[in-house]
């Protein structure tokens, strides 16, 4: 009970923090609300993403991943893709994060958090990641995309569903078969063999 109240209070504090920073940016820096919310969600997403890959306790990594996905859903909604934001919350926060937390709790050993978190190649990996980020940034800023508009092009859920069931109907059906195959395969892989190792 106390924990539930604490987590609700923590969520309210995070939401309040984001909104306060956004309001401060609107008032003091003269930016629009979408700009301010974009900055808040982007910084929240990058900070929690860094926490996901650097924190020692893997349960906390999973929880930081939920925050990262939530911030990304906020960015989708700022961008105007509200349906994608809703799908992000349902699929990632609702399903994949819970699945990953279950797997963490099934494979947790007591000694694991105390041991080394990173491989020996962590230093070169960090250099490679920074190089990738810089290269993508340079490529993006050097390119003018064909047909790019300065403004967002709004689209509705109606248009998405029209596309999904006309142009993309074959990939849609293939994805449904793929999900069925994934579920059956996962059950088969994780099933305990009778008489096998416990």
């Amino acid at each position: 009970m106390l924990r539930t109240l604490l987590s609700i209070a923590l969520a309210l504090v995070v939401i309040g923090f984001v909104l306060t920073v956004a309001a401060a940016m609107v008032i003091f820096l003269g930016q629009t609300w979408t700009d301010a919310l974009f900055w808040c969600f982007a910084s929240l997403m990058i900070v929690s993403g860094l926490l996901v890959v650097t924190m020692r306790d893997i349960i906390r990594c999973g929880l930081a991943m939920i925050v990262c996905f939530g911030a990304l859903a906020g960015i989708y909604i700022v961008m105007g893709a509200t349906l994608i934001g809703a799908a992000q919350v349902i699929v990632y926060i609702g399903a994949i994060s819970v699945l990953i937390l279950f797997a963490i709790m099934l494979t947790q050993t007591k000694a694991a958090p105390n041991r080394l978190v990173f491989q020996t190649q962590a230093g070169p990996a960090a250099i490679a990641a920074v190089v990738i980020a810089v290269l993508i940034g340079l490529a993006v800023s050097a390119t003018t995309w064909p047909g790019e508009r300065a403004e967002r092009v709004p689209y509705t859920a109606n248009q998405i569903s029209d596309q999904l069931f006309s142009t993309f109907v074959l990939p849609f059906e293939i994805v449904s078969v793929l999900l069925l195959a994934a579920v059956i395969g996962a059950v088969f892989l994780a099933k305990r063999e009778p008489g096998g190792p416990a």
Partner: protein
């Protein structure tokens, strides 16, 4: 700032780089899967941004993003099942202790 394609693409690149670092550097197999999820999310952000800013794409970007989400769900399911199956045999989630073929 929130009305330019470049800022979303740079953000997606940064998230992808964070995921790359996590995948290359972490020892825990589930941490590596979480890093893969971060990379998939980064790519999804880029696809949705292209769909929102390039009129020729329109709502097709959103449809492709939904497909990517479904495939990512399937990938997470199978990947976690494989990790649990290995854990049952080797009693460790750390990938550098899976050295049966090196000995």
């Amino acid at each position: 700032m929130s009305n330019s394609l470049d800022s979303y693409l740079v953000l997606s690149g940064i998230l992808f780089a964070i995921g790359t670092f996590g995948f290359l550097a972490r020892r825990n197999a589930i941490s590596m899967l979480m890093a893969i999820e971060l990379m998939l999310n980064a790519v999804n952000l880029a696809i949705v941004a292209f769909g929102a800013f390039i009129p020729a794409l329109g709502s097709q970007g959103a449809v492709i993003a939904l497909m990517v989400m479904a495939v990512a769900a399937g990938e997470a399911t199978v990947g976690l099942a494989i990790v649990i199956a290995i854990y049952r045999n080797r009693k460790t989630p750390l990938v550098d202790e899976y050295d049966a073929m090196k000995r």
